[in-house]
Subunit: 347 residues, 2 copies
Amino acid sequence: MTFTPLCPSPIQHHETVQMAHGAGGRLSQALMQRVFMPHLSNVFLDLLDDQAKLDLPPGRTAFTTDTYVVSPVFFPGGNIGELAVNGTVNDLSVGGARPLYLSAGFVLEEGFSLSDLERIVKSMAEAARKADVMIVTGDTKVVGRGQCDQIFINTSGIGIIREGSDLSCRNLQAGDTVILSGSVGDHGMAIMTSREGLSFQSRIKSDCAPLNAMISSLLDAVAGVHAMRDPTRGGVAATLNELAASSGKGIEIEESAIPVKGEVRGACELLGIDPLHVANEGKLIVCVPAAEAELAVEVMRQSEAGRDAVIIGSVVGDHPGMVVMRTPFGTRRIIDLPLGEQLPRIC
Amino acid sequence: MTFTPLCPSPIQHHETVQMAHGAGGRLSQALMQRVFMPHLSNVFLDLLDDQAKLDLPPGRTAFTTDTYVVSPVFFPGGNIGELAVNGTVNDLSVGGARPLYLSAGFVLEEGFSLSDLERIVKSMAEAARKADVMIVTGDTKVVGRGQCDQIFINTSGIGIIREGSDLSCRNLQAGDTVILSGSVGDHGMAIMTSREGLSFQSRIKSDCAPLNAMISSLLDAVAGVHAMRDPTRGGVAATLNELAASSGKGIEIEESAIPVKGEVRGACELLGIDPLHVANEGKLIVCVPAAEAELAVEVMRQSEAGRDAVIIGSVVGDHPGMVVMRTPFGTRRIIDLPLGEQLPRIC
């Protein structure tokens, strides 16, 4: 008997995602070969196994996951792919881990442009290179039109926690200094203004960036860092509240100390949103003993991601679990958790 | 100054998912406390940190990811939550790893029933207990109505590869025996018949199950296992083709040896679908040297998941990269990869 050779990949006839791209058959393979592998190829992914086999360096392992559903998919300063890599890199980093390996799980809507998908995948590859991590395993599902909004990306990540590191909200001590790595609200307002078509605000760009290099320098230089968090969903307000709630300590911040760019403040006022409630994607909140605060700020400022680092307040023994802000007029107000309706699909 | 105590959780007024449940604010916390933590609580998840910190046992680490978008969410024999746990457990297991830790990333559609969500989360907890793994980190996003179809779940997983294990499609040798752990097509046809409203086929139940216990027994007893795969999307046909393509060997199977339940065969005929193209979620294909095949089958049959294990064919030196099936009439046909349109959103 003779066998007909396999016909050439049928994907070349498609410019958009087809249901069959997600069904595990020949079109799934073709999508891998045409869109994913040219950008993401590495020794792990090239094996196309169901799992990556990794030799982790010694140390405790950090493991995290996040699904990204940001809308619009492309926004000033970044896109969903870059965000998905940086967000998971940062979630590992704030735990004191060196991010090493990422997974990528895609849900694609039938009809999504394959060239847009390729732009996104390319951004992921670039972000991974910049953050010095590898995307080692992945998955793609396709759903019908109207069953998802263009593209969702899950990234999970593995990192190795540096020896002796014990970062946790529960370490906070009254007297600790609270440091913020830069201006707040840039990511969220970049999304909101592009979504609302506020083109005069177009100078606002997302701060989407990897924090691992800055965090690594900081932990090298400052032994006593108690806790770190990246103020993403719910903004600085949510992160400070988590820190206060988990530690059972109070936090006091100075309104005048918190950097907010003029155009971000303007857009927030226009939309009636508190900048402290707006998501960031390249910012860090650090709690250190007061004696080490100046050094920490200095080290952070040497990194691109921490150029505008400032002290914004301190941990206090009063009002446990609560965050209080002192205004320039001398009054104080509670910074509560946002209820959350304001900014859907910000990340 | 005095502070007003925080008001009670507002989630009690909701029976469905609200946009605010995904925004990182107070409703997100309430969703965690009411729906997720009662079922998933463990020493890692209880910390509510951005990452789990794990002490992995020695050995190479396996890492995998899958997003589940199955429709309907509840199907005969299981639901999306159980599937999401078992699927990732199986992807680790077929690489020779002992599955240990899972992440869970949810995308929820606004308006999805909170009681359905709780049923799903409860199933995930039960499936995790059954497979002896822990869900240690998670994430929840909410998107608007019409922006996703009810619920998507990503699970990523970490396992430790057993010492000396080197399972890979590339290990296949001409002469190896190909074993299948049981009947094919159950999962896919359970989904299809419930989706198409073919109620007379209602005896068809998904085979969704964890394979790690059976695989562990098999690897304990049989030293020479060359490769294992779970034939999910694309069915047995896709998996055999992957094995053939990756190894550069040919595979020959006997049609009469492949177990297909009567009701599954009937539904396949009705819908014009080849059972070999239909997804399974609790089946295993194993390639072992012929000398160890009988022992392997015997060991597999001692597990619930492998009760109906049978030899279905062998690896051959002819027709490299191709899968050929011998029919009961003595003819031979190529088993090709499905193009893939037939069975969308099967997992």
